[in-house]
């Protein structure tokens, strides 16, 4: 069995890991709590963006309704904590995952009866449907006012999670687990098949793959991780409102995946960082965050379709073509 990674790549990945450790573990000790908060939010969005990219980057499915799961996870936690007075953090999280999974089963089933552009439209419509339900169902969700008073989990640990830095490390654990699981999925036979489906679905069917089943399972996985992210965000914010389920959120997380790079596993992590940082900077100067978001989207789509993380590959391709031309 030949070695998968050459020595050079092994060294490169080790360096990445080291950089990651420094940035995520060490750095937060030395920066102000405002930046720690930012980093926490980036980690949460990164989980969401990675889940969306499982659909988009790996399977080639563009879903415009992923905010439904982010919102489902969030509202499950919020309703349990605020309305039902449930204290147990693990119960809430598991419930959030369960609800997201069920929603994923239903939405996935409805949406995956179609393909291509039709699939995109239906995910949009389903996402909007959930948003409308959440918005209108005042008695349950508080409607436009939302729900507030979601307290930080009390895990019986000596460190209070109300402290920004403590909460950050708490989220970091979930982030690490999510990254680990999602990475394993992408390297597994299941994950490699998803890539094949993205590239040439009919050929894969002709090879013997039940491609519908793969897409469906992928959809549910993305829903679960989206729900996890949403649940964590609610603990972070302390309140929730129907905007969690809005198309704006679905679009922003797509942008994160795109900007970071959909063809590289860690791309969405970079993207989440980039988009969230830009948003923070922009919104402190102007209220026109949407304009910047839109322009960014257009620029990325037109000029850097592989995103930040994919730019080296894009350059290599271009350069490679140039190099080979010189031979002739």
């Amino acid at each position: 069995m030949e070695s998968v990674l050459s020595r050079a790549k092994q060294i490169r990945y080790a360096l990445y890991l080291l950089a990651g450790v420094i940035i995520f573990l060490v750095f937060p000790q030395f920066i102000s709590s405002y930046y720690v908060l930012l980093l926490t939010e980036i980690l949460i969005y990164a989980i969401f963006a990675l889940s969306v990219n499982l659909l988009l980057g790996y399977t080639g499915l563009l879903s415009l309704g992923q905010a439904a799961f982010w919102g489902a996870g969030g509202y499950t936690v919020a309703l349990l904590v605020v309305n039902a007075g449930v204290d147990n953090f693990w119960l809430c999280i598991v419930a959030a995952l369960l609800v997201s999974a069920i929603l994923g089963f239903v939405f996935g089933f409805l949406a995956l009866r179609t393909t291509g552009v039709y699939f995109i439209m239906i995910t949009l419509a389903l996402g909007q449907m959930l948003w409308a339900i959440v918005w209108r169902w005042h008695s349950l969700t508080g409607g436009d006012d939302g729900l507030s008073g979601i307290t930080r989990p009390d895990l019986g640990l000596p460190w209070s999670l109300w402290d920004t830095t403590n909460f950050y490390y708490f989220i970091l654990i979930f982030f690490a687990i999510a990254v680990f699981l999602l990475y394993r999925i992408t390297r597994s036979p299941f994950g490699r098949t998803l890539i094949g489906i993205r590239e040439n679905e009919s050929r894969l069917q002709a090879l013997g793959y039940n491609t519908w089943r793969y897409k469906y399972i992928c959809f549910v996985i993305a829903a679960i991780f989206g729900g996890l992210a949403g649940a964590l965000k609610v603990y972070q914010d302390g309140f929730i409102s129907p905007t969690y389920c809005s198309l704006t959120v679905s679009a922003m997380v797509l942008l994160m995946a795109l900007i970071g790079g959909t063809r590289v596993f860690a791309g969405p992590i970079f993207g989440a960082g980039a988009v969230w940082i830009i948003r923070s900077i922009v919104s402190s100067y102007t209220g026109y965050w949407n304009l910047i978001l839109g322009i960014l989207m257009v620029i990325v789509v037109m000029f850097a379709p592989r995103g930040i993380a994919g730019y080296p590959a894009q350059l290599k391709e271009r350069y490679g073509i140039l190099k080979s031309r010189r031979r002739f």
């Binding site: 563009l62 552009v117 039709y118 989207m297 379709p305």
Partner: protein, 284 residues
């Protein structure tokens, strides 16, 4: 027990709204059929046209001028989008994402220019007033929209069935390569279809302004409705778009009148039902 005049009112309101939705859905269906993309900025077209048209109409005191301005502005916008951006993008996915980016750009531009103030456009003088239906007043303007919508629907049908342009579009829906292969400039067809769709959306945006207040956020709400129409009515045909529009218009009207809290649920409920049994819409 609802009375006859209530039913009539609800029915007419539903048809009115349906006609507006039809103008939007028709453009979307054409774009989808010929170019294989969903123009997510379609709702933005509607909203911007409403803002522009209202502004011009109020300033000049001339409704028709406002309508032309709104329509024209959006037509140019659509033309520009297709000619300089959509055409250059490699795949459908990228094109759809581009239109999504445009939604945000347009939304903030609208916010910058017109602020958060909802715009009210009074109907043109000749169409003011209302007719009496039982105990209720029904605005003449809405009757005009119904009539106008029918004219457009028939006009579109004629365009598609009886003209060369229409034949090209129908052929393009069926087989793009073939159309290009027989020497027709497919790029021009694409630009034409997109611009045409934009013009329809722009028209809808202005004439809809007296009925549906123009405000920020309208882009999403009207886009969602237009997409629901397509999901319900069918994504491939104008007949489906018409059927879906009228159906959703009626459901919305019935809901708003009899079950105001549940109107939205009703619409999405219909959509979910259709999705469960006919994922490609009622009209295949």
């Amino acid at each position: 027990m609802p009375q006859a005049d209530q039913l009539a009112l609800v029915f007419l309101n539903g048809i009115t709204f349906g006609m507006l939705l039809f103008l939007l859905a028709a453009g979307l269906v054409l774009m989808l059929g010929v170019m294989r993309i969903i123009n997510l900025a379609h709702g933005s077209f509607y909203m911007l046209a409403g803002f522009i048209g209202t502004a011009v109409a109020v300033k000049t005191g001339n409704f028709a001028l406002g309508a032309l301005a709104g329509m024209g502005a959006i037509g140019i916008l659509g033309l520009g989008m297709e000619r300089f951006f959509l055409r250059r993008l490699p795949g459908h996915l990228e094109q759809i994402l581009f239109t999504l980016g445009c939604v945000y750009i347009f939304a903030d531009l609208a916010r910058g220019i017109w602020g958060g103030h909802p715009q009210l456009l009074p109907p043109p003088a000749i169409l003011e007033g209302s007719v009496l239906i039982g105990d209720y007043q029904f605005p003449v303007y809405r009757l005009a929209i119904i009539f106008f919508g029918l004219v457009i629907a028939i006009g579109l049908w004629l365009l598609l069935e009886k003209t060369r342009f229409g034949a090209i579009i129908r052929a393009g829906v069926d087989d793009k390569e073939m159309v290009a292969g027989i020497g027709i400039n497919i790029k021009l067809v694409f630009t034409g279809v997109f611009t045409f769709g934009a013009l329809l959306a722009g028209l809808a945006g202005v004439i809809g302004a007296p009925i549906l207040t123009v405000n920020l956020g309208l882009d999403w709400t009207i886009l969602t409705l237009a997409l629901v129409v397509m999901v319900v009515g069918g994504l491939r045909t104008l007949q489906g778009a018409l059927l879906g529009s009228l159906l959703i218009g009626l459901v919305d009207s019935v809901g708003t009148f009899f079950f105001p809290e549940l109107a939205m649920f009703l619409i999405f409920g219909v959509m979910a039902l259709i999705l469960a049994f006919r994922p490609y819409g009622i009209v295949r």
